[in-house]
């Protein structure tokens, strides 16, 4: 399972690093959005909590699926 997850996880980490380490390049793509300062803190707080909970929910679902699959295989044997 981890072997299947690793390529995707590595790609996610690589994309996240590129995004975080090149803020100037990203800002250049959205120069107009960069000027909108008023709502940004609210948006960023929302995004932080949403991403955090998405990661936790993803882990919960991943554990549940693996557990169900293994237990059904054990029951079959």
């Amino acid at each position: 399972m981890m072997r299947r997850l690793l390529p995707g996880l590595s790609a996610f980490v690589a994309i996240a690093l590129v995004c975080f380490l090149t803020p100037d390049a990203l800002a250049a793509q959205s120069a107009d959005l960069g000027a909108q300062r008023l709502g940004r803190p609210y948006l960023f707080v929302f995004v932080a909590y949403a991403v955090g909970w998405a990661l936790i929910l993803g882990w919960i679902i991943s554990i549940a699926r693996r557990l169900r699959s293994l237990e059904s295989r054990i029951d079959r044997e």
């Binding site: 690793l6 380490l21 803020p23 609210y42 707080v45 909590y49 955090g52 557990l67 293994l70 044997e77």
Partner: protein, 226 residues
């Protein structure tokens, strides 16, 4: 998975989820807004508990790995793997929420300052722990290599904590873990403590369930080899 382990895991995770819902309510409807940073400071109640859980998870990985190398007990390796997977999730939360906070507070998503760099290194050590397990032909060798990575990597945890004292850092000095006691506002401290307790319970619940996955896999492998 043993029924007792399963119920323990589900019970702890449920308590953690309930506590986290209470934390969210406190963060968005109760705790006062910090005077200098404003709304963005509310990321603190996600960022700090996630960092605490990530460091604690690595402590468990190091301890369980040492037990595995010493006694060769498979259960210790399973516990280390379960803790490492959880630690990776919570490190990812720290590395996502921190840059969002930093963009507003410091004006940049990422700054190569000691605490950020060492936390990124922690994420890579977790990734390395996972990859080393599957990098050898012999699973036993992979587990032993991973255990060494888990123990050596734990050196990073005190470095991350002390980095704000030892190096010039943009991160503020600790406001809770300090010799003269916490200097955080009372309501903020209460919210932080509820968040810390909730994420700790959630982590232990999910780690117990993840340990159950490894136990089930081990049982299946034993049956298939018999």
């Amino acid at each position: 998975m043993k029924a007792r382990t399963g119920w323990l895991g589900i019970g702890l995770a449920m308590l953690g989820v309930l506590g986290s819902v209470a934390t969210l309510a406190m963060v968005f409807f109760w705790v006062p807004t910090e005077a200098r940073q404003g709304v963005i400071q509310r990321i603190f109640y996600l960022h700090v508990p996630s960092a605490w859980v990530a460091f604690m998870a690595f402590g468990i990985v190091a301890f369980a790995s040492a037990v595995y190398l010493w006694l060769g007990d498979e259960r210790a390796d399973m516990a280390a793997l379960a803790a490492a997977e959880g630690g990776m999730i919570f490190t990812a939360i720290v590395l996502t929420s921190g840059p969002l906070w930093g963009k507003i507070a410091w004006g940049a998503y990422w700054v190569w300052e000691p605490r950020l760099t060492l936390t990124l290194l922690l994420g890579f050590i977790y990734l390395g722990y996972m990859m080393v397990r599957n990098a050898t032909d012999s699973p036993e060798r992979g587990k032993r290599f991973a255990a060494v990575v888990g123990i050596v990597g734990a050196i990073n945890i005190p470095l991350i904590h002390m980095s704000v004292y030892w190096f010039r850092s943009l991160h503020p000095d600790p406001v809770v873990l300090k010799p003269e006691g916490p200097t955080l506002d009372g309501d903020m401290l209460t919210t932080l403590m509820v968040g810390l307790l909730s994420f700790t319970l959630l982590f232990f619940g999910l780690m117990t369930l993840r340990y159950g996955v490894e136990r089930a896999r081990h049982t299946l492998e034993l049956r298939e080899s018999a």
